[in-house]
């Protein structure tokens, strides 16, 4: 077994230091070392998007990133999205639109949607579907998810910009 | 009198009949009545008075969870069908 390395990263606004074996994925570190189990393991090879978090503002499948690669990055997970006692507009839109059934894909979906809406605040349906194609949902048929993201985009447009990009 | 529908594979044991008018206030009594008319059939349909694994009883449009103990009325239809499970 190769030696463990110390890795430092900002996670949900706090600087964290953790030990990491070279073979450990960022997903394993988040879930097992840092107890951030909101990112889910659905496929282990980057096809389902359930493990999506933001790394330096970009949506990343954490099952495809090694933990040691996270050194020096700024990571935002689903656990850090909601402000205080409320919910982020994307989270609210998912609930209001019944855009989840079993909910296992939801954290990854919401984080992918956040990265996308940060980049494209006013997307068309086609753009949403193209951008979200890497996140699989087996329950909803996507209809309500797409509508939730559309609604979230509208809600975010009505908010001050500082709320939209607080971690970027 | 209840009508007991004979599954096709069982019809050779019931003189080829598709349904038989039976007596009884429960499915078990109905089967016993069938047995009187066609001796030997009960052993095949529900050996030792129990429903065989994989089979279910439908009385009047609905699969009954009570199996052979299900009450039947004189107007009832009784069907023996494969047990099915949903997803």
């Amino acid at each position: 077994m190769a030696k463990k390395r110390i890795v430092t990263a900002t996670i949900n606004g706090r600087e964290e230091e953790f030990l990491c074996q070279p073979r450990q994925t960022l997903l394993e570190i988040l879930r097992d070392t840092l107890s951030l189990t909101g990112a889910k393991e659905g496929c282990s090879n980057g096809n389902c998007g359930a493990c999506t978090v933001l790394v330096d503002g970009r949506a990343v499948n954490t099952c495809m990133v090694l933990g040691v690669e996270a050194d020096g990055t700024d990571i935002e997970t689903i656990e850090g999205l909601a402000p205080g006692d409320g919910l982020d507009p994307i989270q609210e839109a998912f609930l209001g639109n019944a855009a989840l059934q079993c909910g296992i894909c939801t954290p990854g979906y919401i984080m992918a949607a956040k990265a996308f809406l940060d980049e494209n605040p006013n997307p068309t349906e086609e753009e949403i579907r193209f951008a979200m194609a890497g996140n699989l949902c087996r329950c909803t048929g996507y209809d309500k998810i797409v509508r939730a993201i559309q609604e979230a985009a509208e809600k975010r447009a009505g908010q001050p910009a500082s709320c939209q990009k607080e971690t970027v | 009198m209840p009508r007991l529908f004979i599954p096709p594979l069982l019809r050779p044991f019931c003189a080829g009949e598709e349904e038989v008018i039976v007596e009884g206030a429960t499915v078990l009594e109905a089967v016993q009545s069938l047995e009187q008319q066609h001796p030997g059939v009960m052993e095949r349909l529900c050996p030792e008075g129990t429903l065989r694994s994989g089979m279910s009883v439908t009385v009047d449009q609905n699969v009954t969870p009570r199996g052979l103990a299900q009450k039947v009325s004189p107007e009832s239809e009784i069907h023996f069908l494969p047990a099915i499970g949903g997803g």
């Binding site: 990112a39 496929c43 329950c139 | -």
Partner: protein, 762 residues
């Protein structure tokens, strides 16, 4: 989204109850946990001191196991225990009744840890527990198994032949109705036969007769959460299982039977479940994890990866179906004949019974015959998948129906309206329908904006298809605990796979006169609530909802009796109406009286149970517009509308969600999903890139039309919703492709290569 309320036109509509909670769209009770990542799914459960496990799986599709050597694995530092089938008791020939279906325990046990044979690639052989997942995986790879390779059989028709290699030496063909068994080992486990009327006469009366063969591929439920089980075998012999499952009580029974321990020694704690669709009922990991825990003295978690899920769980059968149907000159069906063979996978148990009962379920046919076979092949042991067996069957029947419509020059929707099953129709298997809503779904589609909008583009086409599922009742229990502030906790045993906590709470709220938000539903473990059958068969909103309704009635009775005592009046003078307890000169709403009674007397606790069996079968009709690329054979979906009879929609948003999600699973099944096998029986696409379920980019919005023909067999008219919507899509897509480019697709999936192949044959 349109909602067609049939109650408005129903007889006695003056008495139609006006619901306060039912039909509204409250935020689901577990919503915040699920959008913040706090909800704990199977793999999120971390028990103190937990070891991590891994499974050694067969690389071969069919082989005898000559020996298993675990010594190298045991010697690896960090390994705490190894388990093989030798650690599981021999179940003999015992059969376990599991509420929804039965299982031969020897087969289930061997599927968990193979005994003498492996029957498919990925078959579990041994399990390891270690300090971390990496050591466990390394140890699993060090287990050495000596095999005697056997030829695999992967095709259902080949498996039925006398020359085929036999998978299970104990299997004999059983004639289902008589129990008669064949005398030699075979892959054909069961044979069914249904007959109605005189089929020869029926075909003689037909003007047109069409006969076609259809094939469908093996497909998987495709839930995003892989299987996982965490088990502690405690020092007092008590076993606790934490797992995401469709049925905690079913897992409890399976684990107890497979380990041969008393039922009461097993407690199953439900994790949140990341999809199931029928595939998370059978146990795969808990028995091995239990053995590892007993041996190591620590809790053990076993989790699958995606390849394991695809190669060793699910799937739903590939099938061969031959259909022959006849119509008279006016378009009335005169006769129908079906011959159906379904792949069971490694062990018997394909959903052929249901497939055989569903194959002509949408049509009123005077003369019919259905013969079905349950056939073992070297693929994973099949499991339920949303209306098990019905989708394959509908694809075949609807294909022949469309061809008959072509010969008659009749529109497919009018043909279906003419021949549709309705109240009083006797199916081929003999059962007569109660009040059902197929006609209403056909009319809803016919009147839809979608159907009225003509298609104009080149290579575009439209197709419709209908489907049926029985739905189930079975057993449920609910406990309602009234808090001192008048809010109510609902304890239930139905694991919540798609919002059922809220649908159940809404029925309770409606019955007692509270708001949905006043109810706090909780899915609890097997020690904490009465027996409850699986979350399957589209039964939860119907049956557990009914149990919640009964819990409300129980509370009302208690409130009436205790209010009478409190007010010193005759209980006969007290009633409970519209959320209020009313005495001769006093009236109080639920919260007021609950606070008063709780403060001065015993706690208020209501109980509700149900075991009703009138779930009201349900029908759906879908219409789809496609465009076919003539150069590649790729089928794009332009527009999709699904109408379904839901009885009464408790939470319409989640009803729509079921319809949309089911339709999209059906679309995946119809257009793209299939297991690819090489000659050795190895699945070559065991990942989500190559076993490609639909993405959002593959689809348009899915319009859901909720048709409400109330089920007379439920206090609020509920019919199960979840399963029907997967049934029509492949059939509707085939019809649309035919309409678009004039080729008839008789094999699933209708993937680009297959469609192109048919186009090039033209």
């Amino acid at each position: 989204m349109a909602t067609i309320d049939e109650t408005k036109s129903a007889e006695g509509s003056d008495e139609t109850p006006k619901y306060k909670v039912i039909g509204t769209r409250p935020i689901r009770h577990d919503g915040a946990d699920k959008v913040t990542g706090r909800a704990l799914y199977g793999a999120d459960i971390k028990v103190k001191g937990m070891l991590y496990g891994a499974i050694h799986r067969s690389p071969h599709a069919h082989a005898n196991i000559k020996s298993i050597d675990t010594s190298k694995a045991e010697a690896l530092p960090g390994v705490r225990a190894v388990a093989t089938s030798a650690d599981l008791p021999e179940p003999g020939d015992k059969i376990a009744e599991l509420g929804e279906g039965s299982v031969v325990l020897n087969h289930l046990s061997s599927n968990n840890l193979a005994r003498t044979k492996v029957l498919y690639k990925g078959h579990s052989i041994a399990a390891v527990a270690a300090d971390n997942i990496h050591i466990a995986r390394e140890a699993a790879s060090l287990i050495e198994v000596e095999y005697e390779l056997l030829p695999p059989v992967l095709d259902v028709m080949e498996a039925m032949s006398d020359e085929a290699p036999v998978l299970n030496p104990d299997v004999r063909t059983e004639e289902v109705a008589t129990g008669e068994k064949g005398d030699k080992p075979t892959n054909v486990a069961k044979r069914f036969l249904f007959e109605k009327g005189d089929i020869e006469k029926g075909f003689a009366e037909a003007k047109y007769v069409v006969e076609r063969e259809f094939r469908t591929s093996t497909v998987h439920q495709g839930y995003i959460e892989p299987h996982v089980a965490t088990v502690l075998w405690n020092n007092d012999g008590q076993i606790t299982v934490w797992t995401p499952t469709q049925g905690t009580f079913s897992v409890r029974q399976q684990v107890a039977e497979l380990l041969d321990v008393p039922l009461a020694r097993v407690k199953v704690v439900p994790a949140e479940i990341g999809g199931g669709f029928g595939g998370k009922i059978s146990v795969y990991l808990a028995p091995a994890a239990a053995v590892l825990s007993r041996k190591s003295g620590a809790p053990v978690q076993l989790v699958m990866d995606r390849a394991d899920v695809l190669q060793a769980t699910g799937p739903t059968p590939g099938s061969y179906i031959k259909i022959k149907m006849g119509v008279d000159a006016e378009g009335h069906l005169t006769a129908a004949d079906a011959w159906m063979a379904y792949e069971a996978g490694g062990y018997p148990g394909a959903p052929i019974g249901a497939g055989a009962m569903c194959v002509f379920s949408c049509y009123d046919i005077p003369n019919g015959r259905v013969e079905g076979f349950d056939v073992c092949v070297n693929k994973p042991r099949t499991n339920a998948y949303r209306a098990p067996g019905a989708t394959n069957a509908a694809f075949a029947t609807e294909g022949v129906v469309d061809e008959l419509c072509g010969k008659l020059g009749m529109s497919p929707i009018d043909f279906r309206l003419l021949n549709a099953s309705k109240e009083g129709t006797r199916r081929i298997d003999g059962v007569v329908y109660p009040r059902v809503g197929l006609v209403e779904t056909l009319e809803a589609i016919k009147e839809s904006e979608h159907f009225k909008t003509p298609l104009t583009g080149k290579n575009q086409g439209r197709g419709i298809g209908s489907g049926f599922w029985f739905n189930a009742g079975l057993k449920s229990a609910v406990t309602a605990t009234v808090n001192s502030d008048g809010s109510v906790g609902l304890l239930e045993g139905s694991t919540d796979i798609g919002g059922s906590r809220t649908a159940i709470a809404m029925q309770f709220a409606e019955a007692i006169g509270l708001a949905a938000e006043d109810i706090k539903p909780a899915v609890v473990d097997t020690d904490s609530v009465g027996y409850t059958d699986v979350t399957g068969g589209s039964r939860v909103t119907y049956a557990t909802g009914w149990a919640a309704y009964e819990a409300a009635q129980d509370l009302k009775r208690q409130i009436i009796a205790r209010s009478a005592e409190l007010w010193d009046v005759d209980p006969a003078q007290v009633s409970y109406e519209d959320g209020h307890v009313i005495g001769p000169d006093k009236k109080a709403c639920f919260k007021e009286i609950a606070v008063e009674l709780s403060a001065g007397g015993e706690p208020l606790v209501g109980r509700g149970v149900s075991n009703h069996n009138e779930p009201g079968g349900a029908f759906g009709t879908h219409v789809v517009d496609v465009e076919v690329d003539p150069d590649t054979g790729k089928v794009d979906i332009l527009r999709y509308t699904a109408a379904q009879d839901c009885g009464t929609a408790i939470h319409p948003a989640y009803v729509e969600g079921q319809i949309q999600g089911g339709a999209v699973q059906g679309i995946g099944w119809g257009l793209n999903e299939e297991y690819w096998y090489d000659k050795e029986g190895s699945m070559t696409n065991a990942n989500f890139l190559d076993y490609r379920i639909p993405t959002c980019y593959d689809l348009p919005m899915i319009d859901a039309i909720i048709v409400e023909v109330p089920n007379p067999g439920h206090p609020y008219g509920v019919r199960g919703v979840g399963e029907v919507p997967i049934v029509p899509p492949p059939a509707a897509l085939a019809a649309a492709i035919q309409d678009a480019v004039g080729v008839q697709m008789t094999e699933l999936p209708m993937s680009p290569p297959r469609v192109l192949h048919e186009l090039l044959k033209k």
